[in-house]
């Protein structure tokens, strides 16, 4: 073939990729922490006795799960200013990730809560715990433990999905790649390398979540 690959053409621009990796990591960490927090609240609301709140959360979950992340992102970044909500690229990207993960994790965590045996809740009730205490001390940790693998996968999906945030010029990893290929016209090489970076990041993220899970659900053995 006439084409000669030149991966060296990326080297001068490594700083852009490095910055992109940092920003993607920031987006993912904030998105994951707040998104899962939102999911815990959503799951709590779905399980609550107030049918109106439960239904509102249900609509939120279905709306997000049945529309593309890219469209959610565009709606937040381009659409919300019409309502007077003006966000920076980074804010819009992070908000979109939170809202997206919040919906998925609501469903995932809810499944974990539903898998808690009724006897656990009755035992807590018989010990005079109120609803909040039961949720906090008896339900949420075993529920999260049950669904941790599914939740981890979803967080990885959200991290990978953040690559489309380049479309609103949030300067994450894909944005860096787009920028470099516009400078050196080596699109394939750049995207090939960046794909590799994403692969490494997703493997590391998965490992990190596993370690975090072990830490959260570990037994402090004093035996």
């Amino acid at each position: 073939m006439a084409y000669k690959f030149d991966f060296g053409a990326i080297v001068p621009h490594w700083q852009l990729l490095f910055d992109g990796v940092i920003l993607t990591t920031e987006l993912t960490v904030i998105g994951a922490v707040v998104g899962v927090g939102l999911g815990i609240m959503g799951a709590w609301a779905r399980a609550s006795r107030a049918p109106v709140i439960s239904q509102i959360v249900g609509v939120y979950v279905e709306l997000i799960r049945n529309t593309p992340f890219l469209v959610q992102l565009f709606f937040i970044f381009f659409g919300l200013p019409a309502l007077g909500v003006k966000l920076t690229e980074f804010q819009a990207a992070v908000l979109a990730m939170i809202v997206n993960l919040g919906a998925y994790s609501t469903e995932i965590i809810r499944a974990g809560i539903l898998a808690i045996p009724q006897g656990q809740i009755e035992a807590a009730q018989s010990l005079a715990m109120n609803r909040v205490q039961i949720f906090r001390y008896v339900v949420i940790l075993p529920a999260l433990k049950k669904i941790w693998p599914a939740l981890s996968s979803q967080i990885v999906i959200v991290m990978l999905g953040s690559s489309v945030c380049s479309q609103i010029a949030a300067e994450e990893l894909t944005f860096g790649a787009n920028y470099i290929q516009a400078l050196n016209f080596r699109a394939f090489e750049v995207y090939f390398v960046v794909t590799g970076l994403y692969l490494v990041m997703s493997i590391l993220l998965r490992m990190g979540l596993k370690v975090l899970g072990n830490f959260l659900f570990e037994r402090r053995r004093h035996v």
Binding site: E122, A124, S126, L127, N130, K145
Partner: protein, 242 residues
């Protein structure tokens, strides 16, 4: 005045009426066994005393206070009435000690040191001082059930409800749990138990309550009930066991 009074308790599950007007009073220090065939309503009755089943009609009075189905009332009720379940229902993510400490700490707002002291005391009482740092799945069924008893006792309830506490246990583990219950009875704890251990009930209880088709069919002290059942249903129930 009785510690717990039940008046005209009615409870249905859908079309099925499980409790058809129950009147029962439980005096301080009394040890009562609810007996009867499965489906007679005895477990449901026990669960209503702890507010785990919401009654359709009737009145529950605990320590002179009428209990409604409001949350605050239910929590107040449960502070006075402890419960031990057939399936133990220990919290799997806490050690035996933490299981016992949890509620005194978060519900009664006791200090950690205080809760720990009571928990250790209760676990020692049920003979598990050496298993405090074990997780539920590291304990035998009998040990788990004894932790569950210690957990209920740590709340210092006025009444302890025991719902078939030995039914889920292997036969060789039944006695260690019954020994603990017997000890509580001897110490003067007010106990209401649903049980199939008739010999145990006969030896330990002050009063037997025989339930049949959602009603209290016959009550009396154990000797009389076993020796001279008044109704044919109780006679056949007692006879079937012998």
């Amino acid at each position: 005045m009785s510690l717990v009074e039940l008046h005209a308790i009615h409870k249905s599950f859908g079309e099925l009426e499980v409790l058809k007007g129950i009147d029962l009073s439980i005096d301080e220090g009394q040890v009562i066994a609810l007996i009867g065939k499965s489906g007679s309503g005895k477990s449901t009755l026990l669960r209503t005393i702890n507010g785990l089943e919401v009654i359709d009609d009737g009145v529950i009075i605990v320590d002179g206070k009428k209990i409604s189905d409001r949350d605050a009332d239910l929590l107040g009720l449960r502070l006075q009435v402890g419960m031990v379940f057939q399936q133990f229902n220990l919290f799997p993510h806490y050690t035996a000690l933490e299981n016992v400490m949890l509620s005194p700490q978060v519900v009664k707002k006791q200090s950690k040191a205080e809760a720990k002291q009571i928990a250790e005391e209760m676990l020692a009482k049920v003979g598990l001082a050496d298993k405090m740092m074990h997780y539920p799945d590291q304990l035998s069924g009998g040990q788990q059930q004894r932790v569950a008893i210690a957990r209920a006792l740590a709340m210092k309830p006025k009444v302890l409800l025991c719902d078939e506490v030995t039914s889920a246990l292997d036969p060789e583990l039944v006695n260690e749990v019954l020994a603990v219950v017997r000890q509580l009875a001897e110490e003067g704890m007010t106990l209401v138990m649903v049980t199939h251990e008739m010999r145990f009930a006969r030896e330990v209880c002050d009063k037997l309550v025989f339930m049949h088709q959602g009603r209290i069919h016959e009550t009396g002290d154990p000797e009389t009930v076993f020796a001279n059942p008044k109704t044919p249903e109780l006679a056949s129930f007692v006879g079937g066991l012998a």
